[in-house]
Amino acid sequence: MKINHSQPLEYSTEHNRFSILGFWIFLGAEIMLFGTLFASYFVLVDHTGNGPVGAEIFEITPILMETIFLLTSSFTIGLAIHAMRVGKQKAMITFFIITLLLGMGFLGYEIYDFFMYVHEGATIQTSAFTAILFLTLGTHGAHVTFGLFWGSVIITQLIKHGINYETANKSFIFSLYWHFLDVVWIFIFSFVFLKGMM
């Protein structure tokens, strides 16, 4: 494996560069995925049938908590990558773990939110609006859940092998993924929740 030391570690081999470019293209596909969900959401947002409208079921506290958790986790994964760049393995792993814990916090609140919706009579079967609401939030939540498993796999490899061109590459790609989920959440926060509560 040829390692180019003039590049950052995560870009240092040909395969690493391929993986990062490939992942950016994958994120392009993910934008289309969430774009389709948002487009469908805007179409169906007023199709509430006999069910509740958004303003009746949205509650600001859990949503704010979710937002704080996820935005902070985006910051800590950035710190983890910074620690990786300066070669501090311990700090990197710590920030990785904090990121995943914040992600879990986010997920906990989201699940709580889902229970509250169902409790208030807005199940996935109630109306077209609730269906697309659950599908959009659920797709994002499923991405976060997948990220938790993925991140854990990377942490075990960091502990075992330290920072090398392979683990650096994986961690960097994971950070791209995690930031992306944050961006999607900002859209959900603005256009689903804030707009819905106004």
């Binding site: 391929f18 490939g22 389709t36 109630t126 697309i132």
Partner: protein
Amino acid sequence: MDFFNRFAIPNPTPTIYASMVAIALTVIAVIIGLTYFKKWGYLFREWLTTVDHKRIGIMYLISALLMLFRGGVDAIMMRAQTAVPENTFLNAAEYNEVFTTHGVVMIFFMAMAFIIALMNFVVPLQIGARDVAFPRLNLLSFWLYFVGAMLFNLSFVLGGSPNAGWTSYFPLAGTQFSESVGTNYYMWALQISGLGTLMTGINFIVTILKMRAPGMTLMKMPMFTWSALVTNIIIVFAFPVLTVTLLMGTFDRQFGTNFFTMTNGGDDMLWANLFWVWGHPEVYILILPAFGIYSEVIPTFTQRNLYGYKSMVLSMVIISLLSFMVWVHHFFTMGQGALTNSIFSFTTMLIAIPTGMKIFNWLLTIRKGKIRFTVPMLYSLGFIPLFTIGGVTGVMLAMASADYQYHNTMFLVAHFHNVIIPGVVFAMLAGLTYWWPKMFGFMLNEKIGKWAFWFISIGFCLAFFPMYISGLDGQARRMYTYSAETGFGVWNMISFIGAGMMAIGFIIIVYNIYYSIRYSPRNVGDDPWNARSLEWATHNPVPEYNFAVTPQVNSSEALWDAKKNGHKLFKGELKEIHMPNNSGLPVIMAVLFFVFGFSFVFSIWPGVILSGVGIFSSMAYQSYMKDRGKHISVEEIKETEAKFGGGKK
């Protein structure tokens, strides 16, 4: 017994029972054959687990040909049923299933697979690479496609085929009107194979952007590679839309949501819109690589540079952008209002401009060329006029107000077959014949190939031109029969004869393959067509590592330049080559995905959960696995090169 009742076929007929027996016998025969000839190990090591892009391409090719047979049988059954008025060969329910599976199989499992087969085989060779960027992912893509195709075909004998048309419009495709699990199969087969296609898209974009031989700038890429790049970009942006759409369809059918229902705020037009937001780009995913193939074949057999290289690239890019802006023209009659229809009518007609540019470029390439009428060239020459007719009828359909007359008639059916068959199918047959010697080391017989060409193209004209007339007279598509008074009988009989001729044409192709395997000479050289691009600069058949020395390119017609202007393609010494190892994990994941899809179709939740856990565990296992590939030593390369007839230039 309740558990097993779900697997029953809703409308069993002797044909289906016969198929069950036939499938069982075939499976047993294959298993006995492999065991008897002790080929299990060979099959598994050399093919099923291979990460070699050339072998993956050939596996796609074989699957595509099998699916062509399945879709073709469906087509013949439809034409036979409508050949005479009031026919009772198929009943209405069977006819619904047949036209649905014909569409799905031909688009997803035949045409897509054929296109990806040729891309897999040709693109890395054309850019002078040793493999694709992510070889293991490439194998996984193949397996996901294959699992999707098998799942879809299984519906015929377990649980019932989908019957809501290949577009599966809701509410028809909802549980209220399509009770059987058929449409569940549709959702999951397409979901799984679509996932594979998306990964292929990512893989090839990275391959083409990052792995080109030194000197091959973007504007010096062969045209087929350009078409592959544009196509894969469309794939990456179009397929996620399908993913979401199918997911919503699944939720509506299996979890009782109201996305597309008629009650509780559901919006059935949302399905139509989303489906075609993916569906129209899909049309260009199929046709652009076909254009790329013609752009390789025509210069080769006229011995002239491709006319208007830059405008060819530009027109493909414009087509790819426009392809996302025309989807409403598939349902002008479904109540959008005049303004929306006018806008989409306009954007649709715009597509004729870049397409027309391409037609003229091909014509100007042929002009003053030294034409050799080989089989690939015959398909290309047949393509130009026939496709233009299809394009012109497309512009007729694009006129929103006139479309009220054509909509959902046989006129439409004639139009899209008129672009898909001379466009995509002719290109695939041309490409297959053209690259066959690169794949297998011998040529297909030209004389038999020409017979096939004439049967297929004359058969095509007979089968589809009458539909324009009967369509304008008002024959609706997807109707299983009609009365004698309508006067459609004669046109449908001509269609049936044409379809029969096409079937004979395909049988001739199969015979040609058999004949050529037995009798074709094996010493055809590396470059039997006197061609122009890099894939012909290496041996026949191609060694595992493609090129012993990475080629140096300085024009868009790299090999032609080397042959005529003495440019040296291969400079430098042999070096150790790094290649990826085979991987069994994609096969295991394929099995897991099959169990996942199958269990989901029948709502067997333990199966869904177990296989889902299995899929994620495989991904984690892959992450922990240390596999840095293997190295082929210089001695080994020298040995291989000598075996293939001497070191390369």
